[in-house]
Structures are given as C-alpha cells and as structure tokens.
C-alpha cells in the first residue's frame, strides 16, 4: 500500500444550467494508493457521480488534474483516453453492466480481447476469477440467465481481469438485496486488496463502508470529510455517525 495509483489535484467541474453556473465538483483533492479501497459517499447531487465520471476519463474537468498511474488525463486526446480506459481502468456500473449477448466468461474475456491479451493463461485466470466469485457453474450463462447479484459479480471480474491501476464502481449494490449487496462489496474489497489495485466505490448506502479503508464524504461538490480511522468508519457504517 505505497504507490499512488490515483491522484486528484484541485479538481473543478462546473456546468452551465439556465444561465447559472453550477459547481458540481469544487476544488477537490485526494489520493488513492494501490491496494486501497475507498468509498465516495454523499447525498444526491453532492457531485460523487460527476467525480466518478471524471476519474473514468468519460468527462473532462473544468480545471485541476487527475493522474492515473502517473498519467495526466488533461494532457490526453480522446484516443488516448479510450486507451487509458481500456488498459488502466476497471469499471462496474449501476445497471446494464454486461454485454447481453456474451456469456459470463465471454464478458470477462472481452476485456482481455480489447487489450489483445487473450491467451490460454489469461483464459484460465478469467475462469479462476469467476470461480472465486462463485460463478464456476455460470460460465456459459448469458446475463439474462443470471440474477442481479451474479451479474454484478461478473462485472467485478471484468473490471479486475486486465489488472487495471484503478477500479471504479458506481453504486454496484443499487439493485441488490442487502445480503447480496454485502457479499458483492466484501468480495470486491477482498479482490482489491489481494490484487493491489486502487478501488473507489460510489455508494449512497453507508453500510457498505464497513468494507473500505477510507471514506471520502462529499457535499455540494466539496470534499467535506475524510474518514480514515477504522473505528470511525465502522460507526459510520452502523449509522451512529451521520
């Protein structure tokens, strides 16, 4: 847990709406190290989704810097951003995560195909990862033949299989029941730690924070508080801190 995989420096993102300027992200700075799992929390409209979109190289910031594995997003053209997303970032979304006409195995392997790394060893690694996520019996199932939880686990496998520097998860538990949600986030956290990746999860469900190393709390586009103490984080997760 020593290398900085992701660094955000004085990040600003503003939008114009009906003539007014809205500061969705307001001078935010933080770092996430390899092997660290961080939660980005906050109420609706706090700027966490905008922040995630910028970190995913899907949205250009108004000012400030985002460095992923030392590469500055602001210095990149669209082609370089696509390459960065493919090689350095793993992504799980809230819904519509998987390609519906690819099986669980094919969805995971697609990331390897994209990066030109699909060989026998990589295939084996992909199957092992899916087995680790409890999907050994579901390799050939299409997304429509799997539950929401199983789909999310396939998405997690896809986000990790190509060894990205940063793994981003946007509300991955939004469509899951509590038990499944805990399972998914716990497995996610374990894999982040084991594989030494930098993980960021955006969630509105504070209970999920019990599995993370740090919590970044946003409000009105600002980073208002950082929870680093495990005891505090657990209290936040239990709802004793608001």
């Amino acid at each position: 847990m020593s290398n900085v995989a992701l660094e955000v420096r004085d990040l600003v993102k503003s939008f114009s709406l009906d003539g007014a300027t809205i500061q969705a992200v307001d001078h935010v700075s933080f770092q996430v190290k390899s092997g660290e799992f961080v939660a980005l929390v906050g109420p609706s409209g706090s700027g966490k989704t905008t922040m995630l979109s910028i970190l995913a190289a899907l949205l250009t910031p108004t000012s400030g810097q985002v460095l992923i594995d030392g590469q500055d997003l602001a210095q990149m053209n669209e082609k370089q951003r696509v390459k960065l997303r493919r090689e350095k970032i793993g992504f799980t979304f809230q819904s519509n995560n998987l390609i519906p006409y690819l099986s669980a195995r094919e969805n995971v392997e697609f990331m390897l195909r994209l990066n030109g790394n699909l060989d026998r060893a990589a295939r084996l690694r992909s199957d092992e990862l899916l087995a680790r996520l409890g999907l050994a019996e579901r390799l050939h199932n299409l997304p429509a033949q799997m539950s929401g939880g199983q789909q999310q686990r396939v998405a997690i496998a896809r986000a990790l299989i190509h060894n990205p520097a940063v793994v981003l998860a946007d509300e991955p538990t939004a469509s899951l029941d509590t038990e499944r949600a805990f399972q998914v986030v716990e497995t996610f956290a374990n894999l982040i730690h084991e594989n030494e990746r930098a993980g960021i999860i955006v969630t509105h469900d504070l209970r999920m924070c019990q599995f993370v190393d740090r919590v970044l709390q946003m409000q009105d586009g600002k980073l208002v508080r950082i929870y680093e103490d495990k005891k505090e984080i657990l209290e936040l997760a239990r709802g004793t801190i608001h």
């Binding site: 995630l52 995913a56 899907l58 949205l59 696509v82 997303r85 992504f91 995560n97 006409y101 195909r113």
Partner: protein
C-alpha cells in the same frame, strides 16, 4: 486488424445469440431479393425476347429505308439495295432480312412465331447448331430456333405446317425442318427461318401484294471488313447508296417498338424495390441501435473505440444482408424451376449480377444512419452518468 477482429467477434456473437430476430430481418431481405431478382430476370427475359436475333447478328451495321427512323417494321428496302451495299469498299458482306409473323398449326396447340427470310451463308443467317442450312430458291425448307423445338417437340427432319393469310383466304404451307439454331427470339416470339423466295410465297400478305413475286427486305445486315469502323462506314454507305439510313446494332435494338419504354418500366420497378429495401433495412437497424444505446455506452466506457463499435454495426448489417440475399437467391432459383417457358425470365444475365451487388449494398447503405448514430453515442449519456 485488432479492431476488425473485435468487431467481427461482437457482430457474429450478437447475430448468433439473437438469431431469431436477425433471421426475420434476413427473411425480409430475402423477399426483397426475390422480388428484385425476378424483376431483373423479367427485364432480361423481355429484353432477350425482343432483341435476341438482332443482338446476335454477325454484322456491325443495319441498313434501313431512309426516314424509317431505324424502326424495322417501318423499313422496306428495294431488292437491288443489297447488291449496291455489297459493292461498297469496306463491306465484307451484306444479307437482306425479311420479317413477318406466322403460326405453326401442325401442333396440338398452334404456336405463334416470327418468320424471317434470310440468305444462307450471309449476315442474317444464324449459325446452325444441328442439321444444315436450307437451300436457296423456293425450297420449302426451314431452320427453326431451339426455343420452337423445346416448346413444340419438333425435330430436324419433321414436317411442319404453317398458316398464312393470303389476301382474304387462309392458306397452309408445309415446310421441312432441316436445321436448328439457338438464341434467335425476335419480337417476343421464337423464330423460324426460310429462304427469301419461300418467305415471299408463304408470308401473310394483302390482296394487292399477291400479284408480286419480288420480296422486299425490311433491313440489311452489313458485316464490315474492319468491324471497329462503324461510324466511317455508316457515313460512306449513306453517301454511296441512295434512299437508306444506317445505324449500329445497339440503336437498332433501342428502336425496336416498345423496347426502351418496356426496359425503362422494368428498371423503375427494380429501383423502387431497392429503395423500399433501403428504408426497411435502415428502419430495422435504427430501431435496434436505439435499443442498444446503454450497451454501446458500456462498450465505449470500458475502452472499445468508435472504430470497433461502428465496424461491428457495419459487419452485422453485411452479415444479415448477405444471409438474406443468399436465402433470396436460393428461393428465386427454386421458384424459377416452376415457371413455364412462356414467361420470359432469364436469370443468367448481367442484370442478375448487378441486382445481387445492389442488394448487398442496400444493407450498409440503409444502415448508414444507424452506424453514424452508434459511433456518436456518448458513453456518459448512454450510461446515464452525465
């Protein structure tokens, strides 16, 4: 190369996993193919039936009566004209062609045919496939088109009887079939060939024509020593021989009554069918892309380039179109086996090939809007993150 491989992988997987949906679209394309190919075959068949004899002439120029506007039925040349033409330098040979219609009545079902008077061994006389050429003079011999033989079962050596209206009376003439030729339809009818003197005797004629024994040719087919010199020789012939106008084979075909109008109609039908095809295919793929917006968003968000997404859409369209055209081609062939020879369908023409190429192009052309749409999808909006 990697993009092509990725795009192919995505396109093939999606088609295979949604084969029911894509098969339905392929079937729609197959039906359009069936229609377009039949229209093309009908056009080719009608054109062939109309022009085949003229198109296959062993000649480069056709001589008409002056001011006949290159219309065969309006042209009636003097008998001596053919000799004058043969004397012009640069003319290899010339053959007079006499045109009329008649009916073979010695069959269970009477068969209408074009009866052409031609001179053996000269331009206008087709190549004999079986048997021999007829003798000159008033020999009651005929060479028939294979199409006549196929329809009627007549063979070389058989006697046929034709009916001809002479003045106000119907008269019947017997002719011996001495040879077979191929591909000689004229004016939508299969053809029989007879010597000019015989033609003059047995052709349908009015009361006033009965007193004359001199056959007047409709046109003269001219074979040149130098086949490429059509323009020069055309001018030279008109200068040296009076009361004629000269043109090439193509102009002669285009001036066959109704030929251009008929071909124009058939081609317009074909073009409209292709346009309908473009709209149907374009509509389907546009709806499909709209349904796939979030999925394309995911692909782009995880690092698939616009090239991969666009190429995948193109390949899918090509795949489905090719499948549809293949099925349609097969169906067309099966249907064609059941059509009677009286329906003028010709499938082995240039038109069928052009139709297939156009059909293969309508997919990508129709799907162009959807392909552009797919490339322009922004992952952020598609994933509703923005």
């Amino acid at each position: 190369m990697k993009s092509v491989s990725l795009a192919t992988y995505l396109a093939v997987k999606e088609v295979i996993r949604n084969r029911g949906r894509f098969l339905l679209v392929a079937l729609v394309i197959a039906l359009i193919t069936l229609l377009v190919l039949f229209i093309a075959a009908l056009g080719e068949g009608l054109a062939t039936g109309n022009r085949q004899y003229v198109a296959n002439l062993d000649a480069q120029l056709i001589v008409f009566l002056e001011k006949s506007d290159y219309v065969i039925t309006a042209s009636r040349l003097e008998t001596k004209t053919v000799k004058s033409i043969r004397r012009v330098e640069g003319v290899d040979d010339a053959g007079a062609i006499y045109t009329s219609n008649t009916e073979i009545v010695s069959l269970a079902e009477p068969l209408k045919v074009s009866m052409l008077g031609v001179e053996p061994g000269r331009p206008g006389m087709p190549t004999i496939l079986e048997g021999r050429e007829f003798r000159t003079g008033e020999a009651r011999e005929t060479v028939i088109d294979r199409n006549v033989a196929l329809r009627s079962g007549i063979q070389v050596g058989d006697l046929i009887e034709i009916r001809s209206t002479q003045g106000t009376e119907d008269e019947f003439f017997e002719l011996e079939v001495v040879g077979l030729v191929d591909g000689q339809s004229y004016f939508f009818q299969p053809t029989i060939f007879v010597p000019p003197a015989t033609w003059e005797k047995i052709r349908p004629q009015s009361e006033s024509e009965l007193t004359s024994d001199t056959p007047f040719p409709s046109i003269i087919a001219v074979r040149l020593v130098e086949p490429s010199q059509t323009d020069v020789m055309s001018a030279l012939l008109m200068e040296k021989v009076s009361n004629i106008e000269v043109t090439d084979i193509e102009t002669t075909i285009n001036n066959i009554p109704g030929y251009s109008a008929q071909q124009g109609t058939v081609q317009t039908q074909g073009i409209f069918t292709l346009l309908i095809g473009i709209l149907v295919i374009g509509g389907f793929f546009q709806i499909q892309i709209l349904q796939k917006v979030p999925q394309i968003g995911v692909l782009k968000a995880i690092g698939a380039s616009n090239g991969v997404v666009g190429l995948s859409a193109v390949m899918q369209i090509i795949l489905v179109t090719a499948l549809g055209v293949g099925i349609g081609g097969g169906l067309t062939y099966l249907f064609s086996l059941g059509f009677p020879p009286t329906i003028p369908l010709t499938f082995n023409g240039e038109r069928s090939l052009i139709a297939v190429i156009l059909l293969l192009l309508i997919g990508p052309f129709g799907g162009m809007v959807s392909i552009i749409y797919a490339v322009r999808i922004e992952p952020l909006k598609a994933l509703r993150l923005g």
